[in-house]
């Protein structure tokens, strides 16, 4: 574990670097309106992911996590900003130049069934990428056997179809497919969110084992902070299209500074912790996450923030580095940014 952590120190260049990335979706206002409105799903995100590390991306649903992941994968086009993978500018890349990168960047989604072709055998599913990139050295069955073994499935699974498996097994099949081309980077979008706890733990453990074995980097997207804290080396907390605080798991969970991070942590029911039931209340956020097409002015969190002051309603906070983490909040750093 120790040497894995080392890689996230800044001597090594990041594998993934995102700078002021914006992904907006146009929305129609009225039928005849010419002015375009946008859902600002991702609205100015800066983030680095180092080789071999897991960055956890958390936040309430609708805050833009999936859109950020999809933009990185080239499934949505960015409105502006930069994305680099191993120094290659993804934001400016041509479709043809993207092809070799598709081997190096993979994805695992939440719903394993809908992302598996129901008419293909497991063997064909897990070796599809190898066939496409002409990487079959021995036989498809050989490759399938090795991949299934890596994810803890028996070899006879290869002749069966996705619907014959449970949710946890299907996610293992997805993982086998995702690692088949020996990628360096995998976006895991709510990859364990639909699984039962006992199986969720199995799949999280598998992801960690594979990461250590193959030096993988993960962007681990989840709405569940408890899950994220168990796999992430660093955590970025997102709110309405922006990151509000990011740092090591130890700093973010052990010593959260941003009021939103504090509220998220305080909302997690912790078994065995007597702050619950009958014994008083912890910090609660009021209201709901506002619409991403009309984000509040100033700090986007201000309408729900228990510590908001006048400046929060007027000016968006600048990035500040304090106590080992990056934070976007007027309570920290110079007030003039």
């Amino acid at each position: 574990m120790k040497n894995r952590m080392k890689t996230s120190e800044k001597e090594t260049p990041p594998l993934v670097r995102i700078r002021d990335l914006k992904t907006w979706f146009p929305v129609k206002r009225g039928l005849f309106s010419r002015t375009k409105d946008y859902v600002r799903a991702v609205d100015g995100i800066t983030l680095a992911i180092y080789p071999g590390e897991t960055v956890g991306l958390v936040g309430e649903s609708g805050c833009g996590k999936t859109t950020l992941g999809r933009t990185l994968l080239g499934l949505e086009s960015a409105h502006s900003g930069e994305m680099f993978f191993d120094g290659i500018a993804l934001h400016a890349i041509r479709a043809k130049a993207m092809t070799p990168l598709r081997q190096r960047i993979q994805v695992i989604f939440q719903d394993p069934l809908s992302s598996l072709n129901s008419r293909m055998t497991i063997m064909d599913i897990v070796t599809e990428g190898l066939v496409r990139f002409k990487k079959i050295s021995t036989s498809k069955a050989d490759h399938a056997r090795r991949l299934l073994d890596e994810v803890g499935l028996p070899p006879d699974a290869m002749h069966r179809f996705p619907h014959e498996f449970s949710g946890g097994q299907r996610q293992r099949i997805n993982i086998a497919r995702a690692i088949s081309l020996r990628p360096e980077f995998i976006v895991c979008d709510e990859a364990v969110s639909a699984l039962d706890v006992s199986v969720q733990a199995q799949v999280l453990n598998l992801l960690m084992t594979l990461q250590e074995r193959h030096q993988l980097s993960y962007l681990f997207i989840s709405h569940d902070l408890s899950v994220v804290s168990n796999i992430a080396d660093r955590i970025a907390v997102m709110y309405l299209g922006r990151i509000v605080e990011s740092g090591t798991t130890a700093d973010i969970i052990g010593n959260p500074l941003h009021p939103y991070t504090k509220a998220l942590i305080s909302a997690v029911p912790v078994p065995g912790n007597n702050t619950g039931n009958n014994t008083g209340r912890r910090m609660r956020l009021q209201g709901e996450i506002p619409s991403a097409s009309a984000p509040p002015a100033g700090c986007r969190f201000h309408p729900r923030c228990p510590e908001a002051t006048a400046v929060c309603r007027e000016k968006p906070p600048e990035r500040t580095v304090t106590e080992g983490r990056e934070i976007w909040c007027h309570l920290y750093g110079a007030s003039d940014g």
């Binding site: 006992s198 804290s229 942590i265």
Partner: protein, 329 residues
């Protein structure tokens, strides 16, 4: 809670078995399930998906569709009355007034075709026999109570015009405004973000009357810890352990309960492997002879494969069905 209240159960279920006729044969979704709820008590029913929690809960107000479902029980007593021998009319009375349900999907309780105010008012007219004007007032007050801003205007909204969190609040208002004796909440916050979930549970806590009982179904152990005094743990159609919140969390006796508690990802400051339970919940078509947990249990013995363990006492008001306890007691 006073001792007085403790003495008479509001609900008592004995040997409930629910089966479904399916294309692939008969499945047993709930198998000899027994439990009780005291007046004012909050009891959590936990377990992973497919274990029979919803089926158990829906049997109480007799909401299991039949066919394909079949309910059999030695008794389901609600406030001294035998649920299984009630007429449909008596049952409707119970469902409307005495027992309220809160589901994961607000759409299962709110009609998409009618405005919120009309839906709430109708329930009050029917079950509380209030004059129409007063019913409207009461409904509006409840909207305000569950934290819906602009409640007079929201009375005219259709469900689709409101966010999921707001619909959930309205469903809670509707469940609580008739002052039910029993609330059955089936994964009421599973679809919500933690921040909204916390708000919803605060609401239920604040709004629920002290002598109203609640059966809270969830797969989230953190939620039962916060909300419940007593816990029922279900695995593969059977209750495997029951006990006070503290007994279950601090001194779990069934290997499934212990495994589940260890497998829950807790908030942590450092990454690391979790203690998982190998294998998976068996399908109801493949429940084994003997203990249903045997294939995943680290302690399984010959006996476990041959017969089903009975319940053993492991403390005051704490029982578990596992052969490991046979030697202890």
């Amino acid at each position: 809670m006073t001792e007085q209240k403790k003495q008479n159960p509001l609900l008592s279920v004995r040997n409930l078995t629910v089966q479904f006729e399916t294309d692939d044969g008969l499945v047993t979704a709930a198998d000899q399930v027994s439990f009780h709820l005291m007046k004012g008590e909050n009891v959590g029913l936990v377990g992973e998906s497919g274990c029979g929690k919803s089926v158990t809960a829906l049997s109480i107000p007799r909401l299991i569709p039949s066919p394909p479902g079949r309910i059999a029980a030695d008794e389901i007593l609600f406030d001294g009355q035998d649920i299984l021998s009630m007429t449909s009319k008596e049952m409707r009375q119970i469902r409307g007034r005495a027992v309220s349900m809160i589901f994961q999907e607000p759409s299962s309780a709110l009609s998409p075709l009618h405005r919120i105010g009309r839906q709430m008012t109708e329930a009050l007219l029917l079950h509380r026999k209030l004059p129409e004007k007063e019913a409207w007032q009461v409904a509006q007050q409840w909207l305000a109570k569950v934290g819906i801003a602009d409640s007079p205007e929201r009375m005219y909204a259709y469900p689709f015009q409101l966010s999921g969190g707001m619909q959930q609040r309205i469903m809670i208002a509707m469940a609580l405004m008739l002052s039910p004796r029993l609330i059955i909440a089936d994964e009421p916050t599973t679809a919500l973000d933690v921040t909204t979930q916390a708000q919803v549970f605060d609401l239920i806590r604040d709004m629920k009357q002290d002598d109203t009982s609640m059966l809270l179904i969830t797969h989230d152990m953190g939620v039962v810890w916060e909300m419940c005094e007593r816990i029922l743990v279900m695995y593969a159609s059977q209750i495997v352990e029951t006990g006070s919140r503290d007994a279950i969390f601090k001194n779990p006796k069934h290997p499934y309960t212990a495994g589940l508690l260890k497998a829950i990802p807790k908030l942590t400051t450092s990454r690391g492997k979790l203690k998982d339970i190998p294998g998976q919940v068996p399908s109801p078509f493949h429940y084994p002879e003997g203990c249903h947990f045997q294939a995943r249990c680290p302690f399984a013995m010959k006996q476990c494969r041959e017969s089903q363990p009975r319940f053993y006492e492991c403390g005051p008001d704490h029982q578990a069905a596992c052969f490991l306890l046979a030697s202890e007691s």
